[in-house]
């Protein structure tokens, strides 16, 4: 497993890099990888997303091969793109999404921010129903069982940008950040480091590489 800190990187540049890495991991020529980065302001939408969720007509969202609807990326948001070979880890997309949620919940807990899952609304949320706010978004694309795209955790993100869209397709969905939840929370770099430390251990724990055990995927 290789973990790369790409710093601030243009969305399309990171997208091209992901495409290249996915091909490498699928072919077995690249190790599994986690890219940690920030994007300059950009709106993206999943391939099944609806344009009606883009409220401001001046926005042109990049349509990409991930699940979910429109979202915003920008400075102060920790973006993680794991390139993981699920063919070796149980071939279960839902379990992979639950893993990403668990990772973020543990990371935010490390910095004193309590967050949770909400059944049926993939992502990581603060508060309790009905007063939920979205702290992290998740959207994944899979090609030959290798993952791309991933999660976006708001640390000090400019949340006003979300008001121009229906985040993840939910009307007036409140969005929050770690900074809003707890002023003086760790820096983005500290959080990145924490993700880097936790990622592989949790991955192996929740989605163990099964090359050693037989008939695991027998259905």
């Amino acid at each position: 497993m290789i973990i790369k800190n790409l710093g601030l990187i243009d969305f399309n540049e990171a997208y091209a890099l992901q495409e290249q890495l996915v091909a490498g991991v699928a072919a077995g020529t690249e190790d599994e990888m986690l890219l940690l980065l920030e994007h300059p302001p950009v709106y993206t939408t999943g391939s099944g997303g609806s344009d009606r969720n883009i409220l401001d007509p001046s926005i042109s969202a990049v349509r990409i091969n991930r699940g979910g609807d429109v979202t915003y990326h920008g400075p102060g948001q920790l973006v993680g793109y794991p390139i993981i070979n699920l063919a070796r880890r149980g071939r279960d997309l839902h379990r992979y999404l639950r893993f990403l949620e668990e990772l973020i919940i543990r990371i935010t807990a490390d910095f004193g921010v309590a967050a949770q899952r909400v059944s049926g609304r993939t992502g990581v949320w603060t508060g309790s129903p009905p007063d939920l706010a979205k702290l992290a978004s998740i959207g994944v694309g899979v090609r030959r069982w290798v993952t791309m795209h991933g999660f976006a955790l708001n640390v000090t993100t400019d949340l006003s940008q979300f008001s121009r869209i229906n985040p993840c397709g939910f009307i007036a969905c409140p969005v929050t950040s770690m900074f809003v939840e707890r002023a003086g929370v760790g820096s983005l770099d500290e959080i990145k480091e924490c993700v880097a430390l936790r990622f592989e251990i949790l991955l192996d724990d929740l989605l163990p590489s099964d090359s050693g055990d037989i008939i695991k995927t027998w259905r």
Binding site: G48, G67, G68, G212
Partner: protein, 449 residues
């Protein structure tokens, strides 16, 4: 034959998926490996890859619509194909259309060929084996390039039959040696083959009636009473033939032993912590090899009028795939260290699951291990793969109360059951083999030396 593309199950908890978009339009050519569609479940999108080549004949789900897992969402076939034909015997599959669900039993049949019926195997060998999901494109020519023409050199001493008939025979698991040709020069025609298939099917039904006391009705009328009939897939047909043959011919008996795995688990943990990845299964393979060295009869094969003494210990392990199973074989286990076995096993299983295993790696096994422990199965009995002499069925490791030195203690217990061919192996010998297997696993340090 048109291939049905179904909504894939992308998670144990996935019941339906949303079709996001079609990446090919109806009428467009599809190559194996092309992305056909994008499918969404939860917040994850999967690019749906085609495992066959042909033409996208029909899409049955519109972008944005949901489809239940397993429902047909598209049809891929040849230009002349209409809707998928459910009747297997009258429809000749045009070369080029490969079923996505391919039989794992080719390697089973390979096993038969290796020892028992050299004459039969020769007739098949010069031809390309059907492409199974486990094989690479590179190793096996794309079927459509072979349309109407035999691949490579025509079989020299084989029976006369058209490539179409050969193909059908392979798919149905019929040996052309057994088919009487009614064409010119004894050429085997499609009708001859169909007659033979009928004969085999009738045999099959008779056997079922014999074996199952309650099976008073042949299969057709049972399914008829309940509604729909389903043609046997190639995979099911091949499995049915192999296991029926095994069950009819091989006098199975079973011996079960329980093994305290506490120390084996400890060794595994320690090795793992010191950077040597190892599974319990690797320990089981190593212990099997060790026991087979001491009790070589268990490694023998039965060949009708003689016993084949296998000098190599080639252990196959059943690896489940999404749509079947394969049994990759680790060769020469007698000379491999635990670490080597672990590495080889890891590599083979990894490739088996990615469908990148070659047929050579699936053949030549002398003993098989089947492990259902991960499903919490305590113990079970497996059916021997002819011509092998035995198969080991491995259950789960569970906490159990055992009496040790007069007091009750907790132990990590695993039960294994050896199915043995009584023509090769006697009860006491099988028991001693298991005794040794148990001794090794309970003293796992011996495996590290």
């Amino acid at each position: 034959m048109p291939i049905e593309i179904t909504m894939p199950k992308l998670s144990d908890t996935m019941t339906e998926g949303r079709l996001i978009s079609w990446k090919k339009s109806v009428g467009e050519k599809v190559e194996r490996g092309d992305i056909l569609a994008e499918v969404e479940t939860d917040k994850a999108n999967m690019e749906l890859e085609s495992f066959s080549s042909g033409i996208l004949l029909e899409t049955r789900v519109k972008p944005g619509d949901m489809a239940v897992v397993g429902t047909v969402i598209a049809i891929v076939g040849e230009a002349g194909d209409a809707a998928p034909a459910p009747e297997k015997k009258t429809v000749l599959p045009p070369a080029g259309a490969e079923n996505e669900q391919l039989p794992p039993a080719e390697q089973v049949r390979k096993g038969e060929e290796s020892g028992m019926s050299e004459g039969l195997s020769k007739t098949e060998r010069p031809q390309p084996e059907p492409v199974t999901g486990a094989m690479d494109k590179e190793e096996f020519p794309e079927p459509e390039k072979t349309t109407g023409e035999p691949v490579g050199s025509a079989p020299a001493e084989a029976e006369k039959a058209s490539p179409m008939v050969r193909r059908l025979a392979r798919e149905q698991g019929i040996d052309l040696m057994l088919v009487k040709g009614s064409g010119p020069d004894g050429r085997i025609l499609q009708e001859d083959l169909e007659k033979q298939i009928k004969v085999e099917d009738e045999k099959q039904v008779k056997v079922e009636v014999k074996v199952e006391e309650k099976a008073s009705e042949p299969e057709q009328s049972i399914s008829g009473a309940q509604g729909a009939e389903q043609p046997l897939s190639r995979m099911r047909a091949a499995i049915a033939r192999t296991v029926s043959r095994s069950w009819q011919e091989i006098p199975h008996f079973t011996v079960t032993v329980s093994i305290n795995m506490s120390e084996a688990e400890e060794v595994r943990r320690e090795l793992k912590e010191s950077g040597t990845p190892l599974s319990i299964n690797d320990l089981i393979i190593k212990a099997t090899a060790t026991a087979l060295v001491k009790f070589p009869q268990v490694n023998n094969s039965f060949a009708g009028d003689r016993i084949v003494v296998n000098s190599d210990i080639n252990i196959g392990q059943a690896v489940g795939l999404e749509d079947g199973l394969v049994v990759p074989v680790i060769r020469g286990c007698q000379g491999l260290s635990l670490k080597e076995i672990a590495a080889r096993s890891r590599e083979l299983i990894g490739r088996a699951k990615e469908g990148k295993i070659s047929e050579a790696e699936l053949g030549g096994g002398t003993f098989t291990i089947s492990n259902l422990g991960m499903f919490g199965v305590e113990e079970f009995m497996a059916v021997i793969q002819p011509p092998q002499g035995a198969i080991l069925a491995v259950g789960a490791i569970r906490d159990e109360a055992v009496v040790q030195n007069g007091s009750i203690a907790a132990a990590r217990i695993m039960r294994v059951t050896l199915s043995a061919d009584h023509r090769l192996i006697d009860g006491a010998y099988a028991a001693r083999f298991l005794q040794e297997f148990k001794r090794v696993l309970e003293n796992p340090v011996t495996m590290l030396m």
